[in-house]
Every structure is written in C-alpha cells, then in structure tokens.
C-alpha cells in the first residue's frame, strides 16, 4: 500500500517534469538561464527572474529563519503555559494557513506604500517573510516538542541552566527536523506568485537585480506573465522558467539532504 502510494507520487513528479521539459525543449540552453526576457520569444531568458528569486530566497531565509526559530524556541522551551502564550500559538497556527495572496494585499499597503519601499525586491522579501515566519514557527515548535523530555531532565539533573539545556541538548537533537521545517516554509515562499503580483512585480527588465532596492522580479511571476501571452513561443518560455524554478527548489532540497546525511549517526 505504502509502496503504491510512493510510486503514484513519484510518477506524478516525473510526469510533471517530463511535460515541462518537452514543452520547454526549444528554449532550454545555458543562455536561457542568463539572458533577460525579450519580445522575441526565442531570444528570451530568465536571468533577471533567477537573480530575483535568489535574492528573495536569501533575504527571506536571513530574516525568517532566525526570527521563526527564535520564536519557536521561546514558545516551546521558555514560555509559561499562560492564556496569552496559548493565544499567540493559535494565532500563529492560523496565520500559517492564510492564503498567500492576502499577504500580498497587506504587503502592498505596508511595505510598498507605507514604508515607501516601492515595488522592490526588499518589499517582496519582507512580504514573503511575513508569510514564512508563522510556518517556520509552527514547523519548528513541532520539531522541538518531538525531543523527548528525558533529554531535558537529564541535563537539568546535571546542573545545566535552561539555555545550556536548549543549546547543547534540545537544538542539536531537533536540528534535522528544524532544518526540514525551515526548508518547507522557504519553499512555499520561493514558489509564491500571488503576493508578488499584488506588490507590482515587473515582467520585463533589461537587467538582473543587483540590490534589494531594484525592481521586484521573480521566477513565479515571470512564469505567470509569459503564460498569459497569446503566442505559442511564450508558453515554451513559461515552461522553461518552471524548469528553472524546479531546479532552484531541487537545489534547496539537496542542501537539506546533504545536511541530513552529515547529521546521521550523531543522534538517534
């Protein structure tokens, strides 16, 4: 039964990748991943979109992971079970389920207009961070709660302080699950198109973004812009951009996988 389910899932992934590769066969080459878009479909590339998505991934990871993991550690290890803390936990759980487009509307009002960041990479990163942090907290809190209490009691019994218990026992034990939780949350942010479209992501730039103040462009919004074009060639470009997005996500999975391999044997 389990094997059958795994096979169905795997074949769906292989089918999806296969369809994309066939659709994109005419545009996929090295040039495609570096060049800017073009009005001539055959000459278009995803260079700026790839750079934009890398910027977004980096910025979101840099803000959301420390913030989210820190909050999760506080909630799981430090916070007394008061009514307020319980309320915060349930609010975060609900926020983690809010559709991403809603964050786009909030981001437009808050970051693009309120803080005057304009439709920039930074505004996009902050919006995606708002979307990612609740997910990181929810995932990481589960990871921390999965660490057996015996670990904590043993360390406390040896006279360790609470921070020592968290730093030397709980966090290392939960590290693989923490990493997986953060990675899952980041993948959702990397694949999000709706919130970025709300912010005013551009669909044609002559240059790759070189700083967070540059105009917002990313792979999901580029896919959307090309898929909406009537001419056939642009559909191939959309498929090609989808392949680039899958590659980016696969690279993130590889980092996770490599880290898990290294962790193996150190615990459990």
């Amino acid at each position: 039964m389990g094997v059958a389910a795994a096979l169905v899932t795997m074949s769906a992934l292989i089918l999806l990748t296969g369809v994309l590769l066939v659709e994109a066969r005419e545009v996929l080459d090295w040039r495609f991943f570096l060049d800017p878009p073009s009005r001539v479909a055959a000459e278009g590339g995803v260079g700026p979109a790839v750079a934009g998505s890398l910027w977004l991934t980096f910025l979101v990871a840099a803000i959301a992971v420390p913030l989210g993991v820190g909050t999760a550690v506080y909630l799981a290890e430090y916070a007394p079970p008061t009514r307020l803390v319980k309320a915060v936990e349930s609010v975060l759980t609900n926020l983690a389920g809010v559709p991403s487009v809603v964050y786009g509307i909030a981001g437009l009002a808050l970051f693009v207009r309120g803080l005057g960041l304009g439709p920039s990479i930074l505004a996009g990163a902050l919006t995606l961070t708002a979307l990612t942090v609740p997910l990181v907290v929810v995932n990481c809190r589960k990871a921390l709660q999965a660490v057996p209490d015996e670990f904590r009691w043993a360390a406390f019994g040896l006279g360790a302080s609470r921070w020592q218990v968290v730093r030397d026992q709980v966090l290392p034990a939960a590290a693989p699950a923490l990493l997986a939780g953060c990675c899952a949350a980041l993948l959702r942010a990397v694949g999000a198109a709706a919130p970025l479209l709300m912010l005013g992501a551009v669909s044609f730039t002559t240059f790759a973004p070189g700083s967070p103040n540059d105009p917002l462009t990313a792979l999901p919004t580029q896919i959307f812009a090309w898929a909406a074009r009537p001419r056939e060639g642009f559909l191939a470009l959309a498929a090609g951009a989808s392949v680039a997005l899958l590659l980016l996500m696969a690279a993130m999975h590889l980092v996770l996988f490599a880290h898990r391999r290294r962790q193996k044997g150190t615990w459990s």
Binding site: L122, A175, G200, F207, D214, P215, A228, P230, T266
Partner: protein
C-alpha cells in the same frame, strides 16, 4: 553530539551586509507601467532602447490603464501607458499628490468585434445592434433577439472588464457613456482568455483591441461594423485612415514632469516616441501620422524645460 553551529548569527550578518549594500546608491531604474494592451509595445521599445544603451536599466509592468495612472500619481512609476486619456478623477488625484504629467499619443488601435470562425451567419453589425447587445439591462439573449434573420442560439459574451481602457473606449462609443455595460458576461483583462472563450463556442462574441487579433487569426474572425456609412472591417488601413472610427482609439504614454529631469527617463521617453512609429506595426498597432510624433517630441522637450 555536535554543538550547534552559529547559523542564525551568520545569517543575520549576511542580512546586515545585504541591507547596507541595498542602501548604497543604485543606478536609477526607468520604470514603465500601464495598460496591458500597450505592454507588448513598451516591452519592444525597452528592448530596442537597451540594445542602443546597454547601461540603461528599464523595468516594465502591466497594470491596466487605471492601475498605471494610480502608480504614476503615487510616484511608483516614471512612465505609464494608457489605452484612454486620463480621467478627471485621476488627474485630480495627481494634482493633489503634486505630480504634473505630460500625455502624448503613441499609436492607434481599433476595437475588434470577434466571433468564432464557424459562425458564418453574422457578417456585419450596426452600432445600434452593438448597443442593444451590451446595454446594462442585458435584454438580448439570443442572436434572433438581435436580428430576426439570425439563428435562435444563445450569445455567449466575452470582453474586458472595468479598469481596462478598451472597456472604457467601447462603452463610451457604443453606449455613449464610459462604464455603462451589461455585467453578465465573462470579464477578463487578458485578451488571450477572451480569444480562447470565443474560439471555444460557435455562437460566442467578444471584443478586444485589434492589435491582439493577429495572434488569433486562425481561430477567430472579425465582424464588420456599420456606423451608418456601410460595413467596415478593422484592417490596419481602415483604423489608420479613420474609416473604422469611432471604434478606434489612440494609445498614450504619460510621463511625470519631475522624472523628466533624469536623463535616462527623458531619453527613454524620447526614444519611445521615435521608435513607436517603427515598432508599433510589429506589435499589431497602427502608427499615427508622422506629424503627430514630431509634435509629441516637441511637447516632450518643452516639458523638460518647464519642470520646476
């Protein structure tokens, strides 16, 4: 047991570096927004300009005519394309925000009424029939309601919605006031989806800018329109010469005075006017008479001098 490496610390340091890099002086970007019907032309001209000036940094986004004006008056874009002139309410908003702007015509486009290729019964509609078909009461349901000689098949309607300049122009010409339209039809800003809908139903009818028609020539056909002087098809010649009027409109770009002081914005706006004559045909639009472009260039040069 491996001690936890200080990952969050490294990440935070990375963030600080990234943010401080971001706060440094960037090369400015010319941002272009506006009507989706003008997007292919803006894209073509931006690419053409970047070919001549590789250091130019241009970003184009499609936001609809109304969205483009809102962004222009919020200072979020330097130039916006529009498939209709700015409205009184929008120019008032710009005035309150302290943003002065220049609008110049760029190209001409017809509004094509399109039907399924399999529908050979309908060749030509009068403006009055179009009005009855699209009026807010929505009384016309079948082709026979429109003209007794037509089959009694239900008319499925497709078209752009409010916020689209094409919708504004169509309702202004056909209904007599912008925005008056029945609402029980498939509304979308994407010409592509309108074409797809009409191509999928033999008795469907839709309308969009005639520039978009070329891409769907094999699936759709245009309906001739009779404005009292005989039936006219929206060919390039008819649109350019004004024979398809009043179902044609001019497309504009609007530039904020304040950003014209920047050399890259001025040069790009100038290039837009110069290249529009050559590139508008490539994107399906009809170029304006040359004298119009000469006048627009003079207006642009004057606006730069007049900037406060």
């Amino acid at each position: 047991m491996t001690p936890l490496r200080p990952m969050p610390g490294a990440a935070t340091a990375g963030l600080v570096v990234a943010l401080s890099a971001g706060c440094g002086r960037d090369a400015p970007v010319v941002s272009v927004g506006g009507a989706s019907s003008l997007y292919p032309l803006s894209e073509a001209i931006a690419e053409d300009f970047a070919g001549e000036r590789p250091d130019a940094r241009i970003a184009v986004v499609a936001s609809g005519s109304a969205g483009g004006f809102r962004r222009l008056c919020a200072g979020e874009v330097d130039i916006t394309g529009a498939s209709r002139p700015i409205s009184t309410a929008e120019s008032e908003r710009c005035r309150i925000a302290g943003i002065r702007y220049l609008g110049v015509p760029i190209a001409r486009d017809g509004i094509a009424i399109v039907a399924n290729r399999a529908n050979t019964a309908v060749q030509c509609l009068t403006l009055d029939e179009l009005r009855r078909l699209w009026e807010p009461s929505g009384a016309v349901a079948t082709w026979r309601d429109l003209r007794p000689a037509y089959p009694s098949e239900e008319i499925r309607l497709f078209g752009p919605g409010p916020g689209s300049g094409t919708f504004d122009a169509f309702t202004r010409v056909v209904m007599g006031r912008p925005g008056a339209s029945r609402a029980d039809y498939y509304q979308t800003e994407a010409d592509n989806l309108i074409a797809h809908g009409v191509a999928g139903n033999r008795w469907a009818l839709g309308y969009f800018g005639s520039a978009a028609f070329a891409a769907h020539r094999d699936r759709l056909r245009t309906i001739e329109v009779d404005t009292g002087f005989g039936c006219v098809r929206p060919t390039d010649e008819a649109v350019s010469a004004g024979a398809y009027s009043p179902l044609s409109r001019d497309l504009y770009i609007y530039v904020a005075y304040s950003t014209l002081e920047r050399a890259d914005v001025f040069d790009f706006a100038h290039h837009y006017i110069v290249a529009a004559e050559r590139l508008s045909a490539l994107t399906g639009y009809v170029p304006l008479p040359s004298a119009e472009y000469v006048r627009s260039r003079a207006l642009l040069a004057g606006a730069r001098g007049a900037a406060p």
